[in-house]
């Protein structure tokens, strides 16, 4: 199973195995990782699954679709170049070792 590392805004780090096909949001929620809420269950409705993706991992991601892009505008924490909604990232083998940072607020 691909390994994903979640680093909180205070620097706390957790690495968990995420089932292939599950999202990075689901990986956090199912493994009790703090910092990702996922209030709408991954339906692109809430922007409470906002993460900053580490540079090394960015090239492995599919480009975001326009709905994710517009939803990110409503995220509670500032949007950055590497902002993504983690419910939209379905984990594949090439994401093994990816690190995402969670914002201070969701």
């Amino acid at each position: 199973m691909p390994n994903i590392t979640y680093i909180s805004h205070t620097g706390a780090s957790r690495t968990v195995d995420v089932l292939q096909g599950d999202s990075i949001m689901e990986g956090a929620v199912q493994n009790n990782v703090d910092g990702i809420v996922g209030a709408c269950g991954g339906n692109l409705q809430c922007a409470t699954c906002h993460v900053y993706v580490d540079a090394a991992c960015l090239p492995t991601l599919d480009p975001m679709d326009p709905d994710e892009d517009s939803m990110l505008e409503s995220a509670a924490a500032p949007r950055q170049m590497n902002s993504r909604l983690s419910c939209q990232i379905r984990v594949r083998p090439e994401h093994d070792g990816c690190t995402v940072r969670t914002p201070e607020s969701q």
Partner: protein, 385 residues
């Protein structure tokens, strides 16, 4: 209302909150209390055998086999252990007198499906019912859906996607008629028919089929409140702070009837947004920061590949205008009442839906002419307020 002193090391360990109902609202109330720094005890009593879960996947991805039970479960057991939230499962509370003494009680008992007076009909609200319907769906050739509301239509779409022969029987003259404008009903009727779903309107027939599923509305679970002598209307009656007639007892989510500032009326809503935001509002009140509940209502429904997103409260609308071309499968409908924008439904227009939430929250003035004019920048109206 004097609240617990959350986020400070104080006497707060002596404080306790009891939550009745382990669904979306009950879970969120507990999670929000901890997020607010509430340090006292939290106990959730839920009659279902599962840890708290979300219901939207039940009529969508789970029927299609795209999502499993673990995707619906909101948090794993470790969450409740680390957050010191006690979840008592499989326990139905029959009277508030059964509860241990506590400083606050939150009623989050939800609603139950309205039942038809006949056998052989299935209903969808719980994980158990979903598993049962999914299994029967596998063996069924034809499926009858009674009720052309959100849940009925989502089940119809899933069954059709699985190749079943599907007929929807709706008692009213149009689909989702209680909540959407005719233009939206007509659009969904055409889309379902185009994908091979038969729709029979104005029908109270008792159909026969290998599988019959009814989604004909819900009844709020307000018996505990009635028995305790609390005020009850269409659900457990609460004030703008979501307090029942006993200020120590709150009610949230599907079971609660509250004054909604966007509707200008008392309403009872059935949505994830409503349950989650009301839970957070009550958590803040318990932590000594009460504020009138004022969150913008929003809701979604997925049928086939069509995303319907709604915001505001359309009830009592006297005019609608459509923005965009219905034939393009991407449009929004703006609902007006007495000249004021009250609600917006968006079909396959997620960005416009997000703008619409802000317009509704800001009570923005957008004239029907501006709404219909795609060259008018809706965002400029948010800033203008």
């Amino acid at each position: 209302m004097t609240g617990a002193r959350c986020g400070r090391r104080s006497l707060s360990n002596a404080v306790s909150v009891v939550i009745v109902g382990g669904g979306h609202g009950g879970f969120q109330a507990a999670a929000s209390l901890r997020a607010e720094g509430y340090d006292g005890s939290i106990t959730i009593y839920g009659e279902e055998p599962h840890l708290p879960y979300q219901r939207p996947p039940l009529s969508k991805g789970m029927l299609l086999g795209k999502q499993e039970e673990r995707h619906a479960i909101l948090r794993p057991a470790e969450f409740y252990a680390t957050q010191r939230i006690e979840v008592v499962r499989g326990r139905r509370i029959a009277s508030l007198a059964e509860l241990p003494p506590s400083d606050w009680v939150i009623l989050a008992t939800g609603a139950r499906n309205r039942a038809l007076p006949r056998d052989g009909v299935f209903y969808l609200r719980t994980l158990g019912e979903t598993a049962e319907i999914k299994q029967r769906l596998a063996d069924a050739r034809d499926v009858a859906i009674i009720g052309g509301g959100f849940i009925g239509l989502e089940v119809a779409a899933a069954a059709r996607a699985l190749g079943k022969d599907v007929t929807v029987y709706e008692a009213g003259p149009r689909l989702m008629g209680r909540v959407v404008a005719p233009v939206v009903s007509d659009y969904f009727l055409a889309q379902h028919e185009a994908r091979g779903v038969r729709v029979v309107l104005n029908s109270t027939a008792a159909p026969e089929a290998d599988l019959i599923v009814a989604g004909i509305g819900v009844v709020p679970n307000d018996e505990l409140a009635r028995e305790a002598g609390l005020a009850v209307g269409n659900g457990i009656a609460v004030d703008e702070f979501l307090r029942t007639s006993d200020p120590r007892i709150f009610a949230i989510g599907d079971c609660a009837e509250y004054p909604n500032p966007y509707a200008g009326a008392r309403v009872r809503l059935e949505s994830v947004q409503n349950a989650v935001d009301q839970a957070a509002c009550v958590a803040r009140a318990i932590c000594g920061r009460p504020a009138a509940y004022d969150a913008v209502p929003w809701f979604w429904s997925d049928q086939f590949d069509i995303h319907l997103q709604m915001t505001g409260i359309a009830t009592g609308f006297d005019r609608t205008v459509t923005r965009g071309d219905v034939a393009s499968n991407k449009f929004s409908v703006f609902y007006y009442r007495g000249g004021e924008l009250r609600a917006v439904d968006s079909i396959n227009r997620a960005a416009e839906h997000m703008t619409a939430r802000k317009l509704i929250a800001a009570r923005a003035r957008v004239t029907p002419e501006q709404a219909a004019d795609e060259s008018f920048d809706l965002k400029s109206a948010i800033l203008a307020g």
